[in-house]
């Protein structure tokens, strides 16, 4: 119970491709999870609760703000295993990250 808020925060929505959403109704989503892969313009996070692990793919844009340890960093500074929080919005083309914040470096 004491962990449930965090559990909820760690979890998020896996999106069925082609989810019909109009551009006006871009839904905001926040994910906290572990970096699985960083590629140019894309980030994969592992989110999960217990045995239910999920992966979420998001795209980044030049406007995506990436912060770490109090300063602005580059997306390429993130490594697999880092814990991040990503504020995204769901567009017709999938998830776009607007802001990514490094919470903890990989152990």
């Amino acid at each position: 119970m004491r962990n449930l808020t965090r559990a909820v925060a760690l979890t998020a929505i896996l999106l069925a491709p082609g989810a019909a959403l109009s551009a006006q109704r871009e839904l905001p989503y926040t994910f906290q999870g572990t970096v699985r892969a960083v590629k140019a313009g894309a980030l994969d996070l592992i989110i999960g609760v217990g045995e239910a692990v999920r992966v979420v793919h998001m795209r980044t844009q030049s406007a995506t703000a990436v912060f770490g340890e109090g300063a602005s960093i580059a997306l390429g500074d993130l490594q697999p295993g880092d814990v991040v929080r990503a504020d995204c919005r769901l567009t017709q083309a999938g998830l776009i990250a607007d802001k990514i914040e490094l919470k903890r470096r990989a152990p």
């Binding site: 998020a12 069925a16 491709p17 592992i46 217990g50 045995e51």
Partner: protein
């Protein structure tokens, strides 16, 4: 008050005064719960023991129709004869829990609608997996107490470099986000509420406020129309009640030891079993008084130990294929099989199956005179 009840009350008073409380049976709640907690335990048991159908959200992939189908012997929250399949990939010393291919729990059943849509009876085995693991359904008694043991206590038992040269090098597992794990045979899951919420999804395909999405089918989304029940398929209250039931399950009181059993208990420490199966742990702070600062019989350090190549199966988190969490020794009196996949039919076989870091203890057990071996087993059967 009728006569019989009156006498029962007197007898109870006398026994409490004499310090001999009624022993807790498997499936009983912890002692000292307040009214509200007792009520949540009882209502949580109903959710734990309910049967889900596709109309109530079951599946489309699942292992069983309710928690109580697997955790049921000799009482709800106990063990079960279901053996499930896990799989991961161990590549270059890094463990991949196969999130892209539907996760590491490989569900063995599908709903009729999914079967009709895809023609499959179970989740496809992930092509990237490097190993398969079988997992028997364990008792979940005392898991609330294990959850309330401070992380600092677990870390204090760790000795990853074996600095004390006893051949035993316990180390914590960590979840994907770095938190210390404690639940599951590989100690991958950090917190009980997370294990419970994850089990609704991984075992029954029941989405809930903590796991809002169905898992993919080998990485592919569920075909349209197969699972029309809107997410989450259970609400926060049902999730919290289930968690309360599991959390408040007591460890059964050990049976009274005879002379043999007492000798066995000494041997358990003398030959080094207690180096991993730490007999008692102490909880820290908890909002629930019955879980707060309580010493309890745990027989585990919640750490990973290399158990040798014969037991090895999958990696998970930081656990290598041969690493397992020291299994808490609870309700062994009712157990019909032992070790993670149930391969041992007797306690002797379970001990003889220990390898790796436990080789010394195992060999000392094998070297004991027959009467001492029997005494150790008698002790284990009191748990």
């Amino acid at each position: 008050m009728n006569g019989a009840r009156g006498w029962a009350a007197v007898a109870l008073l006398i026994s409490v005064a004499a310090g001999c409380e009624r022993p807790l049976k498997p499936g009983d709640p912890l002692r000292g719960l307040n009214r509200a907690e007792q009520d949540r335990f009882a209502r949580g048991k109903v959710v734990f023991d309910s049967t889900f159908t596709p109309e109530k959200g079951l599946g489309p992939l699942f292992n069983a129709t309710g928690c109580g189908e697997c955790h049921e012997e000799p009482a709800k929250g106990g063990s079960g004869d279901e053996v499930e399949v896990h799989a991961t990939a161990f590549k270059g010393r890094v463990c991949d829990p196969l999130v892209e291919e539907g996760g590491f729990v490989i569900q063995q059943h599908t709903t009729p609608a999914l079967k009709q849509a895809l023609g499959i009876d179970s989740e496809p085995f992930p092509p990237s997996a490097t190993a398969r693991a079988m997992r028997t359904s364990p008792v979940v008694f005392a898991r609330g107490l294990l959850d309330a043991v401070p992380e600092s206590v677990i870390l204090a038992y760790a000795d990853p470099e074996d600095k004390n040269h006893d051949g035993i090098a316990g180390r914590p597992n960590r979840f994907t986000d770095g938190r210390v794990g404690r639940f599951g045979r590989k100690a991958f899951v950090p917190a009980l509420d997370e294990f419970n919420a994850g089990a609704f999804s991984a075992e029954m395909g029941i989405t809930n406020p903590a796991v809002r999405t169905e898992e993919t089918i080998g990485g592919k989304p569920i075909p349209a129309g197969v699972d029309p029940v809107p997410e989450p398929e259970i609400n926060q209250e049902e999730l919290d009640l289930t968690d309360a039931f599991v959390r408040l399950l007591a460890p059964p009181t050990p049976l009274k030891l005879g002379r043999d059993g007492r000798r066995g208990r000494e041997l358990f420490s003398d030959i080094g079993c207690a180096a991993c199966h730490v007999p008692t742990l102490r909880t820290g702070d908890s909002p629930i008084a019955a879980l707060r600062n309580k010493e309890f019989a745990a027989y585990t350090d919640l750490l990973l130990h290399d158990m040798g190549p014969d037991l090895a199966d999958i990696c998970l988190g930081l656990a290598k294929p041969s690493d397992f969490r020291t299994e808490p020794l609870l309700d062994l009196r009712d157990a019909k099989h032992f070790l993670h996949d149930g391969r041992a039919a007797t306690l002797e076989q379970a001990i003889e199956g220990h390898g790796g870091e436990a080789t010394g203890a195992r060999d000392r057990f094998k070297g004991l005179p027959a009467a001492d071996r029997a005494a150790l087993v008698a002790f284990l059967k009191s748990l």
